[in-house]
């Protein structure tokens, strides 16, 4: 039996050589960048790179003293969490409508929602900028919340839709014979049954919102709206150039929660990333 399991062209040495090298290529820049966060500024930009630096907590002190890091953190959390809530409030009924009803134009509406995922931020950046300026929402977390929600709504609808399609019709029919109406079925049957999909959609929307750069760059201009993602680009010390150790630290502050979230939804990740196209 063992002999049959291994077949031609199955070279274990080659396999682990290839996978191992790529794993190293993934990890080494991350570990090296982590080391940047814990070295003094004088050992970052040097004529010859220093591979074994002295340990230093300079960056922490710098961050806490010179940069409003807690403001950036708060802005990110408020804007991202708010946008996910908006997405769920709008997205769950929309996904329900797209999966559980037959009506004219349904597929076109579904495709329209999907197609907004392809809109390049740069195309709408100028009108959105003027729109928020006219509303007096420039440099405001609320504007970021609204725009993140808009950017991710298509993803949320399509992921939840994919999970709702998997719910057997009988579950719904049973509730209906008990006299439950459409909205009660959505709330008491459908939402609990597709909770993994809702969580996956929320996590992926949250990560994309944390990462968002162009809109944030245009809307935010002071610490009252800077998020972690864009604040990085402002870690410059005038003539001293870019402050890499602070950037490295903030990168890891954002990286750790994302890592935790991804580990939590690991099984659903590929399904979420393809907006439901892979049932893996």
């Amino acid at each position: 039996m063992e002999k049959r399991r291994k077949s031609k062209g199955d070279n274990l040495v080659l396999r682990y050589l290839v996978l191992g090298s790529w794993a190293l290529f993934c990890l080494v820049p991350i570990l090296w960048f982590l080391s940047i966060g814990f070295r003094p500024r004088t050992e970052i930009i040097t004529p010859e790179p220093i591979y074994w630096p002295t340990f230093s907590l300079d960056a922490w002190r710098l961050l806490l003293a010179d940069w409003p890091i807690f403001d950036y953190l708060r802005n990110s959390v408020v804007a991202v969490a708010g946008s996910v809530v908006i997405d769920l409030i709008l997205g769950i009924p929309a996904a329900y409508s797209l999966t559980r009803y037959e009506y004219r134009g349904r597929d076109d509406i579904g495709f329209y929602i999907l197609s907004t995922r392809m809109m390049a931020p740069a195309i709408v950046a100028i009108p959105i900028f003027f729109l928020f300026r006219n509303m007096g929402l420039l440099d405001s977390v609320w504007a970021l919340m609204l725009i993140y929600a808009a950017v991710n709504l298509s993803i949320v609808v399509w992921i939840i839709r994919s999970y709702m399609l998997d719910i057997p019709k009988e579950l719904e029919d049973a509730a209906r014979t008990d006299g439950a109406g459409d909205l009660r079925i959505l709330w008491e049957v459908i939402i609990p049954a597709c909770l993994p999909g809702i969580i996956t959609a929320s996590v992926i929307a949250a990560i994309f919102a944390i990462n968002e750069f162009l809109f944030t760059l245009l809307i935010a201009s002071t610490k009252s709206a800077y998020t972690m993602s864009v604040a990085l680009a402002n870690f410059t010390g005038g003539s001293d150039g870019v402050i890499y150790n602070a950037i490295a630290l903030v990168s890891f502050l954002a990286f750790l929660p994302i890592l935790v979230l991804i580990v939590l939804i690991q099984k659903h990740l590929s399904r979420g990333l393809t907006m439901g196209a892979v049932k893996g």
């Binding site: 009924p93 995922r117 931020p121 709408v124 990462n211 954002a254």
Partner: protein, 315 residues
């Protein structure tokens, strides 16, 4: 901004008032029942029209004006005529295709090769998170990692010198292809995991018996992979590549942080071109004209490519 204010009117009523509302609904006219699914989907659609239809119309309108601070001077099609003969615009378009095309090809090939080796391996399954890590960094952070490695910290030059490939330092911002390669490396490093995880999931969820049958016929693994496994997951590959392709053609963050378009505009992408025209030279009408061109391309691509990819992905 009436558009955004109307959000969730229907949806928010859903949780606590579900029961009485529903009863009322049932007693009411069949017309309301027929409208019900539209009411459920309407808030989301209205919200999305707010960031697509409204800005699209605004950009088209603005593209016929010369905008100087608060003054709008109508200029007809001048912006489009100027765009047509603007070598910087064509350069940006070309750069986007070159950089995006190379990066996307590399990502597909590498992700496919890695997936080939990984998908039947239980050991790798437990370590999958290692392969995902680059994707979990904020793109702006990734841009700084490579900015330090290539430019400011000269680490890549130093490593290449140590293994004897070059003398002295490479100026990654001074040479067209070196500058482009920094953008390509940053994108490949961060986003190959995206394709990798999707390919692996698709390969693992397919029917194993077909592969098993081919193997019993004595086919080698590379042959099975190429002739049996890959064709079976083609719809998923299409969806993944389309999604990655969309993101790659809108590349902005890496250009903004790593190269700013240097040297001589040879790394400027179309997104960065629009940003620069709009928010650095404040030539909003001109930038809008470029945005409209990009919008038309996007709509065409959506109809031709994306619709097909997702339709077949569903089937």
């Amino acid at each position: 901004m009436a558009v955004l204010d109307q959000t969730g009117g229907v949806a928010r009523a859903a949780p606590d008032r579900a029961r009485p509302r529903e009863k009322a609904l049932r007693r009411r006219s069949p017309a309301l029942r027929r409208a019900f699914p539209y009411l459920l989907v309407a808030p989301a659609v209205i919200y999305l029209l707010g960031i697509t239809l409204y800005p699209g119309a605004y950009a088209i309108y603005q593209s016929f004006y010369l905008v100087r601070f608060t003054e709008w001077i109508p200029v007809g099609f001048d912006n489009y005529v100027e765009l047509w003969s603007d070598s910087e615009f064509w350069q940006a378009l070309l750069n986007t295709l070159i950089i995006g095309g190379i990066a996307l090809t590399l990502e597909c090939v590498i992700a496919m090769a890695l997936a080939f080796f990984a998908y039947r391996d239980a050991l790798i399954r437990g370590w999958r998170i290692v392969f995902l890590m680059p994707m979990l960094f904020m793109p702006s952070a990734v841009a700084f990692i490579w900015k330090l490695a290539f430019n400011d910290g000269r680490v890549i030059s130093d490593l290449l010198r140590k293994i004897g490939l070059i003398d002295g330092n490479l100026d990654f911002l001074g040479n067209v292809w070196l500058a482009r390669s920094t953008l390509i490396v940053a994108d490949v490093w961060q986003w190959t995991p995206f394709l990798f995880i999707i390919f692996v999931a698709a390969l693992q969820s397919q029917d194993q018996e077909v592969e098993e049958a081919a193997r019993l016929d004595g086919a080698s693994w590379p042959a099975i992979f190429w002739n049996v496994s890959l064709p079976m997951i083609r719809p998923v590959i299409a969806v993944a590549v389309v999604l990655r392709g969309i993101d790659i053609t809108t590349m902005f963050t890496n250009v903004f942080i790593l190269t700013k378009g240097t040297p001589g505009g040879t790394t400027e992408t179309i997104s960065y071109f629009i940003y620069r025209q709009g928010f650095q030279t404040f030539n909003f009408g001109y930038a809008s004209a470029a945005a409209v061109v990009m919008l038309v391309v996007t709509i065409l691509a959506a109809q031709l490519v994306v619709k097909r990819a997702f339709r077949s992905g569903k089937a």
